[in-house]
């Protein structure tokens, strides 16, 4: 899933990019409205995160141009001006949500995930795209379209990255999978691997889905190789 981020502050932009990549999204980052509009036309992103005050073209204008062309992508405004965003929503420019500065990582992720679920739901209703099927890993039922896993009645929030890892493990049940194969499959070929990235992610994922993260049942460690399911 592609996310276009348009934010003129370089640090905020880079931080958002990092959060979203880590979450499993493909990110296109731009520094002003004109670049954002160009990137939108070039990449057709699923989600657009727009800062309101940007050089060359403000976020409202970018949103208007996008909505004139299509209703497809979800649009989120990122703003420090709370009263302006009220006006935006009031004017029904077509924004799906807004993230108000100063925001925390958890808030950004919660809103992006909510938007992603809505996109899946919309696609399901319109039947426009083949949605990922649900699958089971041990006693965990994973429903990718909801970005959730279920153990009995207990719902577990999952990121896109989590889903990619679990899907990769599910497809290769019983096989020991190398670290590089995880990076290639779940992060993409152009990702520069950091040995700690995968381990940390697996560690956090285990905390979410394993009954006892210290004795994992779903994601088992294969010493010297990588990880294995089953």
């Amino acid at each position: 899933m592609k996310v276009l981020v348009a934010e003129d502050d370089p640090h905020t932009r880079a931080g958002l990019e990092e959060i979203l990549i880590e979450e499993g999204y493909q990110v296109i980052a731009t520094a002003d409205g004109r670049q954002a509009w160009q990137a939108f036309q070039d990449h057709s992103p699923d989600v657009v995160c727009l800062d309101i005050m940007m050089p060359h073209m403000d976020g409202y204008e970018v949103c208007r141009k996008i909505r004139r062309q299509t209703d497809e992508p979800a649009v989120l405004f990122i703003t420090a001006k709370s009263e302006e965003i009220d006006a935006v929503l009031g004017l029904e420019l077509g924004a799906d949500d807004f993230i108000q500065k100063p925001f925390g990582v958890k808030e950004v992720l919660a809103r992006i995930r909510a938007v992603t679920r809505r996109i899946y739901k919309k696609q399901s209703a319109a039947n426009t795209k083949a949605l990922p099927d649900s699958f089971t890993l041990a006693d965990l039922k994973v429903v990718p379209s909801e970005l959730r896993g279920f153990r009995g009645d207990q719902a577990i929030e999952l990121s896109l990255r989590d889903l990619q890892i679990l899907k990769f493990l599910h497809r290769n049940e019983g096989r020991a999978l190398s670290r590089d194969s995880f990076f290639d499959e779940c992060w993409g070929f152009d990702y520069l691997p950091n040995s700690r990235t995968l381990d940390q992610h697996i560690s956090q994922l285990r905390k979410k889905i394993e009954l006892d993260p210290k004795s994992p049942e779903i994601i088992k460690t294969v010493h010297g190789v990588g990880y294995r399911y089953g």
Binding site: D9, H11, T12, G15, L16, E18, I19, E22, A80, K81, S82, E83, D86, K101, P102, F103, G104, V105, K106, V108, R196, Q200, S203
Partner: protein
């Protein structure tokens, strides 16, 4: 806002202006009325003066003519006929016996003149007592004038009662002689007269309304109405003296002069009021603009602070995510950065909320949620901050989902908890209770700190009011409770301070819907 000041401006100018117009109109009308009254009084006086002149002259003649009547009484028939023929004032003599019987002229030997006299006076003799009428006090007159009308106008008789014989003697006065006598007493026609203005005219009119005499320079049209008129006394009853004016003294002129004066006063006052109103309006708008600029500046600064604050918080959290779970020391350091950035966010949030409340822009956006969940979400970081020695009691009974603005509740509770942290940390105790019934949520936040003195329990909700401004006291902006109460009231509830034995207790109510 501007419309309100425009209305005030218009009220400040138009209402007094309207009052002045009304008062001016009243004064003008009163002035006209008064001036006219005075003018008519002056004219009346002038007319009465002239009437007096006429009466004085006639009074003199009355005395003279009574002598003539006396002469006629003593004269025989021939003497009386001679008197009528030769005396310029006497047209005819007569004598009437008791019960109205005509003694002279005797019907047995009448001259032509006497026959005419009897014919002219026929209506008089029909009366039993034509002359000796009783006045209103019961007295009977013994001499006087008698006027009657015959054919070409009024005729005049002067009579005298003789008590010894109970006969009435009299003469018919030559009418033209009488009129000439009157005219001789009046000022010369066409000449200015001291007693009337040069542009006025007085007319003497006979009983038929014909102008007999006029004086004064004014040109008066034939159909003009007099300013005022008075009737003459006997024998010229039904004669009138009328006062006319030319162009100078008219009601319209009085009216326009007064109107011009009133308008001048009105315009002057209106200009003064407008000047004052503009001055105050400008002064007020300048103050408002300055205040708005200050608020806007704080608003702008607060917004500008948000982006660097976002970066501090976001990167601290990113760093925290990549931290080794066992690296407790660094995690603590990052917790401080995240915690302080959140505190700064709250402060900025308070400033912006305060700014919004001053601009009347605060609004609530209720959504379905659980009040207790919001409370727990806030208590947890507070618990971590204050440490294990600090006792926190929770009696939460608002688990049912309802419609409320969680951001508003969060901001109110954050302010209350922040106050506990700043001022009541020494009490080592916090109790938070919640309940939900009949669409009203009640939350109580109680501590065992120093509490608030009774005299200041309401004052603490005023903006910028702090219990102490000492440097040694905990820092604060002094707007937290004011904002919290504003938000609570916006949410259909209230925030109040409840007196307790020790510490403070804040009672928060919010109107919620299922």
């Amino acid at each position: 806002m501007k419309h309100r000041y425009l209305v005030v401006f218009l009220l400040l100018t138009l209402v007094p202006a309207g009052l002045i117009v009304w008062l001016g109109w009243r004064v003008s009308a009163e002035e006209q009325h008064r001036t006219r009254r005075e003018f008519i009084a002056v004219i009346d006086e002038s007319l009465q003066t002239h009437r007096q002149i006429i009466e004085d002259r006639l009074a003199d003649r009355f005395t003279d003519l009574l002598q003539v009547v006396e002469t006629a009484r003593l004269a025989d028939t021939a003497g009386r006929r001679e008197l009528a023929r030769t005396h310029p004032w006497v047209r005819q003599c007569f004598e009437i016996g008791p019960r109205g019987r005509i003694v002279f002229p005797s019907r047995s030997q009448l001259t032509e003149a006497e026959q005419n006299f009897l014919m002219r006076t026929a209506t008089i003799w029909q009366e039993r007592q034509p002359f000796r009428l009783v006045d209103e006090y019961g007295s009977r007159a013994d001499s006087g004038w008698h006027t009657w009308y015959w054919s070409d106008g009024p005729h005049y008789i002067l009579w005298l009662w003789h008590p010894a014989t109970d006969h009435v003697y009299g003469i018919e006065v030559e009418r033209m002689r009488l009129v000439s006598e009157v005219l001789a007493a009046l000022p010369t026609e066409g000449q200015p007269h001291v007693s009337i203005p040069s542009e006025a005219q007085i007319q003497l009119r006979d009983p038929s309304g014909r102008v007999v005499y006029r004086w004064g320079r004014a040109a008066v049209e034939a159909d003009a109405s007099p300013i005022t008129s008075i009737a003459l006394n006997a024998p010229l009853t039904s004669w009138t003296l009328s006062y006319y004016t030319g162009r100078i003294i008219t009601t319209r002129q009085f009216s326009s002069q007064t109107l011009i004066n009133t308008l001048a006063i009105l315009l002057g006052t209106l200009a003064l009021l407008s000047g004052l109103a503009i001055y105050f309006y400008r002064s007020m708008t300048t103050q408002m603009r300055d205040a708005a600029q200050r608020v806007t500046f704080v608003n702008q600064v607060s917004h500008e602070l948000k982006t660097p604050l976002t970066n501090i918080r976001m990167y601290a959290e990113l760093l925290e995510r990549s931290l080794d779970p066992d690296d407790e020391r660094r995690r603590k350091h990052l917790d401080v950065i995240v915690g302080e950035s959140q505190r700064l966010s709250r402060l900025i949030g308070n400033v912006l909320t305060f700014s919004k409340s001053k601009q009347g822009k605060l609004s609530i956006h209720p959504q379905t949620g659980c009040i207790d969940e919001t409370i727990c979400r806030l208590i947890e970081p507070f618990r971590q901050k204050v440490g294990a020695d600090f006792s926190i009691e929770q009696q939460l009974d608002a688990q049912d989902d309802c419609q409320f603005d969680s951001d508003v509740l969060e901001q109110i509770l954050t302010n209350l908890l922040s106050n506990v942290e700043k001022y009541a940390i020494s009490g080592d105790y916090l109790s938070v209770s919640s309940s939900l019934s009949d669409g009203l949520c009640e939350i109580r936040v109680t501590d065992r700190g120093p509490g608030v003195p009774t005299s200041k329990q309401e004052l603490i909700f005023q903006p910028f009011e702090r219990l102490s401004d000492k440097l040694s006291e905990a820092a604060g902006t002094g707007i937290g409770l004011s904002i919290a109460r504003s938000l609570a009231r916006l949410h259909g509830g209230d925030l109040s301070y409840l007196a307790t034995d020790s510490g403070s207790c804040f009672k928060l109510t919010l109107r919620v819907s299922p």
